[in-house]
Amino acid sequence: MSPTVAGLVQVSALLLVLVAVYVPFGNYLAHVYTSDKHWRVERALYRLVRVDPGTEQRWTVYAAGVLGFSFLSIVLLYLLQRLQPLLPFDFGRAAVEPSVAFNTAISFVTNTNWQSYVPETTLGHSVQMAGLTVQNFVSAAVGMAVAVALVRGFARSGTDRLGNFWVDLVRGTVRVLLPISFAAAILLVGLGAVMSLRAGVDVTGVDGRQSTLALAPAASQEVIKMLGTNGGGIFNANSGHPFENPNGASNLLEYLLVLVIPVSLTRAFGVMVGNPRQGHVLAAVMGVIWGSLLSVAWWAETHPNGTATLAAGAALEGKEVRLGIPSSVLFGMATTGTSTGGVDSMHDSYTGLGGGVLLLNMLLGEVTPGGVGTGLYNILVLAVIAVFLAGLMVGRTPEYLGKKLGRVQITAAAIAILAMPAVVLLGAGAALAQPGELDAALNNDGPHGLSEVLYAYASTANNNGSAFAGLTVTSDFFQSTLGLAMLFGRFVPILAVLALAGSLAAQKRVEPGVGSLPTHGPMFGVLVGGTVVLVAALTFFPALALGPIAEALK
């Protein structure tokens, strides 16, 4: 079987699995967030933390919960890293430097998982498990909670209550993330991933030379790294490392874990607003854009134009033999489309066009299909904008799912949409204005160097976390600006989305009239897809032209 045919079979298998789980798993997700019944273990948890699960919250209280929980998570994660020598399983690794600890704490709490450190030599197993693994779970559960709060804003009528943040957080963790992670972790060990509490194993090679292979509790973190669209590897090479991703089968499992929740959440949304077709059209938009970008990236990686790549004969720099080009491109498309920073191949070494597509996949605002929860609320905000634009064109009051979109709603949606581009362009602009910083940081020059900087701010502002990893980001300038990019990229949209949810829930639902725009058909899909592409194209075309597009046309 040729690599292309095998790759096409793999794409079909991916589609088959996603289609098969879409309805049952989407329905289950809707049930998780709408059921009145608490599991016994959940009731015990609520008693222990003294939270009344029966109390519903206004959007302001819900937002205070999100912010308070995230802020304290940052503090705890910072302290764990700074106090590393006092913890077990530290293997003599020192306290993490303040600037690295600051950046890493923000990075994992915001579901970005940008990594400015070498995990094997920086972090012991205690910080990995009690610090990073925990945030891999809860940052994902927070994303789902915010998305569900927005869906309730559409689904409810004439109330100021959006649900209880603590209940949503606990249910997302206990009913969705934890059971899937546990089962997938065992499966991943079966496929060859390591799950060890030792620091490493000393071996004497066939040539008599001694070396130490780094080990780690990888499998348990790897699965939630993917399922929660986090992306921070327990090894520096991330999913390129054979201990994290031993073969083509584990590769498929990992990017399936990435896609399953974001895709199925569109179904949960449709079910919760009483019409599954409303969700299907969003899933279709995500799928069509993703599929188109996939084919461009795949073509680019199999038709390289770089002088070094042509001299080598194929675009295999930064790719593993056991995975090859199609599997690597599929993985890269799944992770850049979902705000998962995981990589199984080095994006910095992709062709100009291939790397540019991965960058664009993030710059679309992480909606193809986006991170767990974040993807759903981002595309719903874009749908609101699309309805508004359509309303402007024909001159009628825009409404979506029976809710009128007035000044308050459009303002909130606009803030949510514009936060990311503002952070990307201001951040990258500030970095480019610092020649001293750039000289020290860039690994490539010319257009590819510009792409490295643009990719860094796109990745952090979108809470993706993958990198054109040649860029050295350890200076205080990069640590702090990239840290702030992650904070603003995460919490400005979350606050805007929760405000939007509050204002929508307060409205009484209006029945659709003859003048209402139907929002469940192909026409609306084209409108939303057009909005996604238009917003990104208008904002980022100049920057992309100087970076990846210039390199692709060389």
Binding site: V5, A13, L45, R50, V61, A64, G68, F71, L72, V118, A130, F137, V138, T173, L178, F182, I186, G190, G192, V194, G200, V201, V203, G205, V206, R209, S211, A214, L215, S220, Q221, F235, A237, P246, N247, G248, A249, N251, A308, A311, A312, A314, A315, E317, G318, K319, E320, V321, R322, G324, S327, M346, D348, S349, N444, H448, F468, A469, G470, E551
Partner: protein, 210 residues
Amino acid sequence: MLSLLTRQAAAAVRVLILLTLVLGVAYPLAVWGVSRIPGLHHRAEGSVLTVDGRPAGSSLIGIDPVPADPAADPFFHTRPSATAEDPLGIGPADPSVSGGSNKGGFSETLLGAVEQRRALIAAREGVDAARVPADAVTASASGLDPNISPAYAALQVPRVARVTGLSEADVARLVAQHTDGRPLGFLGEPGVNVPELNLAVHAAASMMRP
């Protein structure tokens, strides 16, 4: 407003501590516990290969072996590694870290490295430079790629046979035995497992000698 924040923050502290115990201690230790069962244990601890009971490497980690005498090199070689000390990436990788070169396709440094690697490998195998495949002259993502393409393995068979004294057919048979196909027939790409292959060649060669 302030009391609202304080109340939520107090709840946040309690939830965070509890979830840290459940997700950060109980969950990874439970997965670790299950991974102790036979069949999983070997993989969980790094798929370590042993020779006479001593750890001799891992099936999953490629570290390029160094011949005692470069003129009589009995080893199959892995791909170049960005973690190797040598700037060309030829020579043993450092398995306590991992990573790629992150060089772009138009990088002059990468172009130079590719050309030098091609010349070195062609000279080592005594073949025309055009026959050296792409994976042999590019560094992997991890720097620890245990696999090479079947083409790169085939290129090394005559030299390994000559130096070890095994017949080319025997060496080619060992290569075939240690070639992993695509899982399920369509996932990933076929590759030859270098750490396992070198141990097998070494064992076969030792058996031949009296």
